[in-house]
């Protein structure tokens, strides 16, 4: 009994110290973002800023047009999300619920593209969009999403497969077409997986830096990730400002995480544990 008790204490000790280690960087960010610049460069550092400079936030956010970057990020993220959600669902339905020749072969192709490092196709993609005159627009970022995303197609297919076909049969008797089944039965029953895909897509595209870096050049088209990097280039040593803006950029994701935490975790578990 005593041994059990002491091992419990050890477990809590490890978990709590782990939690502190994980949360410490956030705390450090917040603390730095509220310091006077002269206090940022002190060693040993003060963990609770004195004085607390709230004005760092409005000051940092007005150095560059972060409002515009925010709108750009929303447009790109939203455009990708919509495309990935709608198109992936349509394709997944075909894989999961329709019988047609060649289906399994096409599905294997879909699966194998999931493993492909995207950099192999990057340079020709760049050339295609250059020829189309679409560099420095949002199209190179959004357009590919409207052809479905293999990973989300796979996720949705797996989910659609778990929905009983008895409802389909009943609907057919009532004169419902195959597309009607997709629209009226499968989609409404699939809100969990749709929510999961929406969250994944939002998370990925909000964080994405590589593609915006390659396809966007002018300041007024920057997403938040690019703006942040631009900011770093100009205000590289003003760590209080940098941390303030970084926290603001992270904030939407953190909010979505806390609001939809259950979906996040379910989604990750569903994809990773098979």
């Amino acid at each position: 009994m005593r041994k059990k008790f002491s091992s419990k204490i050890l477990v809590y000790f490890l978990l709590i110290s782990g939690s502190i280690a994980v949360l410490m960087p956030f705390f450090w960010m917040l603390s730095t973002s509220l310091k006077k610049l002269s206090h940022v460069f002190r060693f040993p550092p003060e963990f609770i800023p004195d004085p607390i400079v709230w004005s760092n936030y409005p000051e940092a956010l007005t150095q560059l047009p972060f409002g515009l970057y925010f709108i750009n990020s929303i447009l790109v993220t939203g455009g990708c999300l919509l495309g990935e959600l709608i198109v992936s669902a349509i394709v997944a339905y075909s894989f999961a619920r329709l019988r047609w020749k060649g289906r399994d072969f096409i599905f294997i192709i879909c699966l194998s593209t999931m493993m492909l490092p995207r950099q192999v196709t990057l340079i020709p993609e760049f050339i295609i969009f250059k020829e189309l005159g679409l560099l420095d627009t949002f199209w190179p970022l959004i357009l590919p999403s409207w052809f479905g995303n293999p990973f989300y197609i796979f996720l949705m297919r797996q989910y659609f497969l778990t929905i009983s076909t008895e409802l389909d049969d009943a609907a057919v008797i009532d004169g419902c077409s195959k597309f009607g089944i997709f629209w009226r039965i499968i989609l409404p029953l699939s809100t969990p997986v749709l929510a999961t895909v929406a969250i994944f897509s939002f998370q990925y595209n909000w964080n994405d830096f590589f593609r915006p870096l390659i396809f966007l050049f002018s300041n007024e088209n920057f997403t938040l990730a690019l703006g942040l990097r631009f900011f770093q280039g100009n205000y590289g040593t003003q760590w209080n400002y940098l941390m303030a803006v970084s926290l603001i950029v992270m904030l939407p994701l953190i909010i979505v995480f806390f609001v939809a935490q259950k979906r996040f975790i379910q989604g990750v578990v569903f994809t990773g544990y098979k």
């Binding site: 019988r99 590919p144 052809f147 830096f209 870096l213 942040l228 941390m243 990773g272």
Partner: protein, 307 residues
């Protein structure tokens, strides 16, 4: 009867048409954004091309340069593989350990789970900036904490030896992503296996070694593959935190590829680099798959070797 089968045939036909129709966005996307670009990049990799003048066919020269004349290319491949080899096992071990700690019927499970998982959803420039500041040798958090216990910390991101470990530490922060998955795996292991083992007098190590790890091995295997492919493509953090420095010590492969393509506009060489990365990832993934035979346990599959 005849009429009925005709109707069925029509129905089948209609379903086939609808099936292809609904899958067509993926097919068009696959052709336009995967198949053609892949072939194109292979062809470009045999040329010299700056995107201004016409491409010039130079055969295997780009590949020759890559493997024999350009030490930076192999160096960047080496450090990327080295980083992956160190980082992925550490992430698996820490993720598993955390999951096992959380799976001991403790209070506050959901709070701990939330805390540990939070970093896994964040990535990109903001996170990279945060870590750059944490690793700051003079005023950073890490060295401040080390100084409390009397250790004078290294220069981390500006030290050739410590820069790769810095990236490993940074990636360990988001270990919660794997943890969540292992935890779900742990919770689905039937408890009667443990009960039976306890009756046989098994201790903690026996239970872990002979029940937990084998039952979890497919999950670990999946995480290993995904983590490997993901880790080989590290870019944003390196671009923001060190931009390859100091003295190219953190010049990860994609960073080098990016420079060749979008700073020097050497599209032919960059395409060759991309294809080499693709082949390396493919080969190493196949090797990992082959080793899986020896340590991944699938339920319902009869084991031929000794148990």
């Amino acid at each position: 009867m005849n009429k009925l089968s005709l109707k069925n045939l029509n129905k089948e036909k209609r379903e086939t048409i609808l099936g292809w129709l609904m899958v067509s966005p993926f097919l068009i996307g696959f052709v336009c954004f995967t198949a053609i670009p892949m072939i194109a990049s292979l062809i470009i990799s045999f040329t010299e091309w700056d995107m201004l003048s016409n491409p010039e066919w130079i055969g295997f020269d780009n590949y020759k340069t890559l493997f024999f004349e350009d030490p930076l290319a192999l160096h960047s491949l080496n450090i990327t593989i080295l980083f992956t080899i160190v980082s992925i096992p550490l992430n698996i071990v820490f993720g598993l350990a955390l999951a096992m700690l959380l799976n001991t019927s403790i209070r506050g499970l959901s709070i701990f789970r939330t805390i540990f998982y939070l970093p896994a959803i964040l990535s990109g420039v903001a996170v990279a900036l945060m870590w750059r500041w944490i690793f700051s040798s003079e005023f950073g958090l890490l060295n401040a904490l080390l100084s409390i216990i009397g250790i004078e910390g290294p220069a981390w991101l500006t030290d050739r030896i410590w820069v790769l470990p810095s990236f490993v530490i940074m990636r360990l922060w988001s270990v919660g992503g794997g943890m969540i998955i292992y935890l779900a795996g742990l919770q689905s292991i039937p408890t009667n296996l443990y009960e039976a083992a306890n009756i046989d007098g098994a201790n903690w190590w026996h239970r872990t070694r002979f029940i937990t790890l084998p039952m979890l091995s497919p999950t670990i295997f999946f995480q290993l593959i995904v983590g490997f492919i993901f880790s080989m493509q590290i870019f944003t953090e390196a671009f923001i935190m060190t931009n390859g420095g100091p003295a190219d010590a953190s010049l990860f492969y994609l960073l080098y590829l990016y420079r060749q393509a979008f700073q020097y506009f050497d599209m032919g060489y960059a395409s060759a680099l991309a294809w080499v990365l693709f082949i390396v990832i493919l080969l190493l993934t196949i090797i990992i798959f082959k080793t899986g035979r020896f340590w991944v346990y699938y339920e319902g599959e009869t084991k031929r070797t000794n148990i």
